[in-house]
Symmetry: D2
Subunit: 134 residues, 4 copies
Amino acid sequence: MTVSVKHKVNFYDTDAMAVVHHSNYIRWFEIGRVEFLREAGITLGELMDDGYLFPIVDVSAKYLNPAYFDDQLIIETIPTALTKAKMAFDYRILREKDGIVLVTGHTQNVFTCRATGKIARLPDKYYDKLKIMI
Amino acid sequence: MTVSVKHKVNFYDTDAMAVVHHSNYIRWFEIGRVEFLREAGITLGELMDDGYLFPIVDVSAKYLNPAYFDDQLIIETIPTALTKAKMAFDYRILREKDGIVLVTGHTQNVFTCRATGKIARLPDKYYDKLKIMI
Amino acid sequence: MTVSVKHKVNFYDTDAMAVVHHSNYIRWFEIGRVEFLREAGITLGELMDDGYLFPIVDVSAKYLNPAYFDDQLIIETIPTALTKAKMAFDYRILREKDGIVLVTGHTQNVFTCRATGKIARLPDKYYDKLKIMI
Amino acid sequence: MTVSVKHKVNFYDTDAMAVVHHSNYIRWFEIGRVEFLREAGITLGELMDDGYLFPIVDVSAKYLNPAYFDDQLIIETIPTALTKAKMAFDYRILREKDGIVLVTGHTQNVFTCRATGKIARLPDKYYDKLKIMI
């Protein structure tokens, strides 16, 4: 199930080439991921309070077209793999007004125990919510 | 006692006006403040591990001249007030190659107890190190 | 006339004190300012394409209460002064769910000529739109 | 030829997990790339003034170990491919004090014409300087 969330490009997101700096899309993948969890009924804050972290271990992005100041973007987040220890997502970031795909990407995240920093097995109460979304 | 630290402008610090985005100088005041503490023999990490935080309560900045990509900057941090509960600093950010002052600023920080979030009285072991620097 | 715009705190906006890093509010004042212009019928992009820049010359902020990851914020922008050469704004950033004011601030911006970098006199087609909003 | 540059982790680089936010390493790859060009005798600013841009088209990163506030990092940049139209780099970011590799990565950049945005063929005066470094 694809989850979409909108994000408007701020002036501070641009760089001296007058386009969005490429590092920002990596941040916006995170916005997509957080929104995906929320759609599944999980807030990242809750998960953390419950002793789990969801750090990223791998990211890749292809920059196809630039975004500009004030562009309204659509961040699409698509789950591609889920186990109790990890979860992977694909992303597409499009410009709303012309539908052009600007950036595609992929991340791999793992569930870890906040106290130990080690890989954790996600409890069913969370896992079941995510499984439905795949 | 003025403490100086250098910082080079990165491409990602610029915006679509091809100058450094103004919010970055606020971050660079923090670099200056952290360096000031270090010069006094205190690392912010130690202070935090010891149960104290040093949050900012007030900031102001005047933007006099723009900085550009690749400029080598000098961040000067000057203590202007110190009690066991709070500390204030003035800042000057200059471009090294021409000595032009780009930004001046001021911050007020307080010492708080990490556990309670309330204003703390800084122990003498830290306070004495800071007092010498005034 | 106060212009309000919402902004949700992203995970990447937080710092190791688990609160929003103070530099982000300076960025969010910019979101408020851009939205204010839009409400007046002016987009910053248009203004720039027309040869004018709107750089900040002065900022101040008071940090009253911390914001946390996932907080929905309201950025209020209130014009306080306008001439053909400059414009000043006050800001209030509140948390939506409890209405608590987190940060207040003030900025002074000037209108400059993009080609020369010098202070410009804003043409009436823009000035009149802003004057109505005061 | 590997080019190394140091970078200290600032407090504003951390997130609420008390580690460096993963998006920052993507920015630090850029610091490495700019330093690589400089070592080759090319400043990115010059290149841009001369009508060329060097946008990124592809990035990937593996996050192996977290960096913390105040860590001194070493960014290693290794060229892996060069034509007159594009250049690829590998990166390794290590913590200086223990030599642990924190992040590895790869980017692909292209040379474009600033005026047209199209892929350009890099003039020999630049290309020759880069070729020596491979």
